[in-house]
């Protein structure tokens, strides 16, 4: 670890974002994606406050669990298919 003599003064660091940090580690509930109920409306992607829904070629993929904090907004907003949610929240560690 660097000491005070080596560190840049004022805690000025390289430019970046939370992308390189695992900020999802304190999650208590974990969203699970059920692909068969997903209509690809991308509401989850729009509402996610942590950009933790990965999208490729206009289709949603798996959650980015390094950044998902388990707030549950995606599960709340998910319209699902025929009354069945495509995202459900499950307790971590179970």
């Amino acid at each position: 670890m660097k000491g005070w003599r080596e560190l840049e003064i004022g805690a000025i660091t390289e430019a970046g974002s939370a992308d390189s940090y695992n900020t999802g580690s304190w999650r208590a509930f974990r969203p699970r994606w059920i692909e068969e109920n997903c209509i690809q409306c991308l509401f989850c992607w729009i509402y996610c406050p942590d950009s933790a829904i990965t999208v490729k070629d206009g289709k949603r993929g798996e959650f980015d669990y390094n950044h998902c904090k388990g707030c549950g907004i995606c599960a709340m907003e998910c319209p699902g298919k025929k009354g069945k949610k495509a995202i459900v929240m499950e307790e971590e560690g179970k």
Partner: protein, 339 residues
Amino acid sequence: MGKKLAVTGNQAIAEAMRQINPDVCAAYPITPSTEVMQRFASFVANGKVDTELVTVESEHSAMSACIGASAAGGRVMTATSSQGLALMWEMLHIASGMRLPVVMTLVNRALSAPINIHGDHSDGMGARDCGWIQLWSENAQEAYDNLIQAIRIAEHDDVRLPAMVCMDGFIISHSIESMEFLSDDVVKEFIGEFKPKNPLLDVNNPVTYGPLVLPDFFMEFKRQQHEAMLNAKDVVLQVAKEFEKVSGRSYGLFEEYRLDDAEIAIVVLNSAAGTCKDVVDEYRDRGIKVGLLKPRLFRPFPYKEVADALSGAKVIGAYLTGLTPLVVSDQCTWRLPQP
């Protein structure tokens, strides 16, 4: 040598700011410092300076804008008083923690309540431990000289800390006295060009200001600040020496007035020191050995040097401009012997 003119303290400060020509000034008016920015705003309007003047909605915003501008890579200045400084308090720590050499004039004024626009030192004393360098000034001349030197001290590579120049509200800020200005060229050459460190506007080398730093590294950065503060003392003396060459006026960490053989020493800041010098003379005339020590560099406080200077005195009295309730006990008060 420059011109000798009769001006108010605020005018002297505004004139120093014109000569310094900072990149950005963000300020919010408050008595008694209002006149500083009012005069400076007319310099901006009349094209006498190249400064970007940001008129903001509060002093909290003023200091926030100063911080942003300084991090962007500019030489930044502001001025305030009393409640204004109190409202800046949170941001004062951000400026010093990010090691931004913002330079501010504090026209000392009592903090409310009861509301009082005149000068005690409760505002500056409240900001004593915010990581800012503090230079205190007896009169307009010292405030002017201190402000120009503060630029060099704050921006010095061994320091890189914000600095505050204090002078008394009304007694100095609004009273007219004769003082000597340096010429524009001399000031320009003395302060030199500002060299930004990690500026945000250097888009080819992007940086992050203000990241989260948890206990594993927090004290490392506080230690850096502490060391910079310790360095400031030598830098203050070094800059003062250079300043003497261009101005003929000499400055130290503090001023000693008839202190050499004094048995009774009075320690007093700012304008009251001027009055005290007359009192010292009066008592000296009566054969009583009284002397005065007027701190100039108050943060970092030169403990050892002050202790050495006062070591010969049998009695030391510290006079506070203002009264901080319960800080001074009755046992500490003393009287000069009546001749």
